[in-house]
Symmetry: none
Subunit: 244 residues, 2 copies
């Protein structure tokens, strides 16, 4: 139930939908990813192996590719080369295992591509992908990446947050939770939904962590001020300025 309009300003220069190709051999993962990407308003195709990926690169001609670096029986580097041969200007977001050969990835991402390590959260992938597309000129407003709710401001690239001019220091999880809230202002979000978006897809725990992190955010963001974070008992949480 997120707000698709929040990112609808990301469109191709010709006005059509942004096209994304997801390449991964785990169906559970491609299901969730492609669902979320479609919900962002993007057109999505999926491939489970290198051959399928190359075929879709040629026929679907995506603007971005989400590519699992560790596909079975496929050399990631060769596949990347093949995709690039077909699509010169495509953005690539790599999905890698945490202990993967980081130096090879580092060299590849030097060209403007990016990567996230498994297990990742949905918002992490979405944020990176939005960043890539924005920098590749897919944004209508080429300005900086700022989120604003009331007097609360977030600079996603700098990972800086401030309220009424005062800087706020947040941990990684706090930042991602607040980003998700700020991307969906004035919309009540259930704990299950927050968990699905902000925590890793393999997180086994329960919604209690959400409550806890909401309390952390409150101490840092709302501390002594007019609250922006509101509890909707039995439903979830909502971020909104007091006066509409």
């Amino acid at each position: 139930m997120d707000n698709p309009s929040a990112s609808s300003h990301l469109r191709r220069p010709d006005g059509g939908s942004v096209r994304v190709l997801v390449v991964d051999d785990e169906p559970d993962l491609t299901d969730v990813l492609s669902g979320a990407l479609r919900y962002e308003g993007w057109e999505v195709r999926t491939a489970a192996d290198g051959a399928g990926a190359l075929a879709l690169a040629r026929d679907f001609r995506p603007d971005a590719v989400v590519l699992d670096w560790m596909l079975p029986d496929t050399d990631g580097l060769a596949l990347l080369r093949g995709i690039r041969a077909e699509l010169e200007r495509v953005c690539v977001l790599f999905l890698t295992a945490r202990d993967a050969v980081e130096d090879r990835i580092a060299g590849i991402t030097a060209g403007g591509d990016d990567y996230v390590t498994k297990p990742f959260s949905l918002e992490e992938v979405l944020a990176r992908l939005r960043g890539l597309l924005r920098r590749a000129g897919m944004a209508r407003d080429a300005g900086e990446n700022r989120l604003v709710v009331g007097d609360l401001v977030m600079d996603e690239d700098a990972r800086e947050v401030s309220r009424a001019g005062t800087a706020i220091d947040l941990s990684r999880t706090e930042f991602e939770l607040l980003r998700y809230l700020m991307r969906n202002p004035r919309r009540v979000l259930s704990k299950a939904r927050i968990l699905d978006h902000v925590w890793s897809y393999d997180f086994g725990g329960r919604a209690h962590v959400v409550e806890l992190y909401i309390s952390y955010l409150r101490k840092k963001v709302d501390a002594g001020r007019v609250p922006l974070i509101h509890t909707v008992r039995g439903v979830g949480y909502v971020l909104k300025p007091e006066a509409p």
Copy 2:
């Protein structure tokens, strides 16, 4: 009966009726659900198992599916994938047991999909389904989800209610009762009908709670103002502005 016109603005882009597939093995439940959905003006088919669901996904091509997660002899996840293979853009509303939330299916709410836990109320299912369809582009007005009766305004997504500009704080049940009344303005609703729609289907209590919650709503919504909530003695209640 309820007011179908209240949601008749939900139509497919081609102007036809929205199509919904209900999949559940309990006939009592499918009967009630499909009745309510038909009354919303939607076209409905039902299936009792995975095979039937897949067949109807192919032949009926619904816009949305209401899917019991705990079908006997059927893997919910596999069924979901099968349906998605057939219908890429379908919205899915899952029905799950309350204690199944523990082993929740991560990522179910990642895309546009949603779920409600049993036992649920009819209005809960209808509201979620309307929300899914609206966000999937099935609404003629893509604007926000607002209900207006006189100077009373409800924003369903933010769960905000205000009268003449003044915000009103409502509990969950109060909110659901008021939403039902606002979806059926100028129509006398019996207590039994309200109970059937707003309270869970397994609620054992009596219609007295309706009277009680009406009195709560009056204190908050009508307090000192021209009343919108009216008693029709021996029949039920009706929400309407004073002047016709």
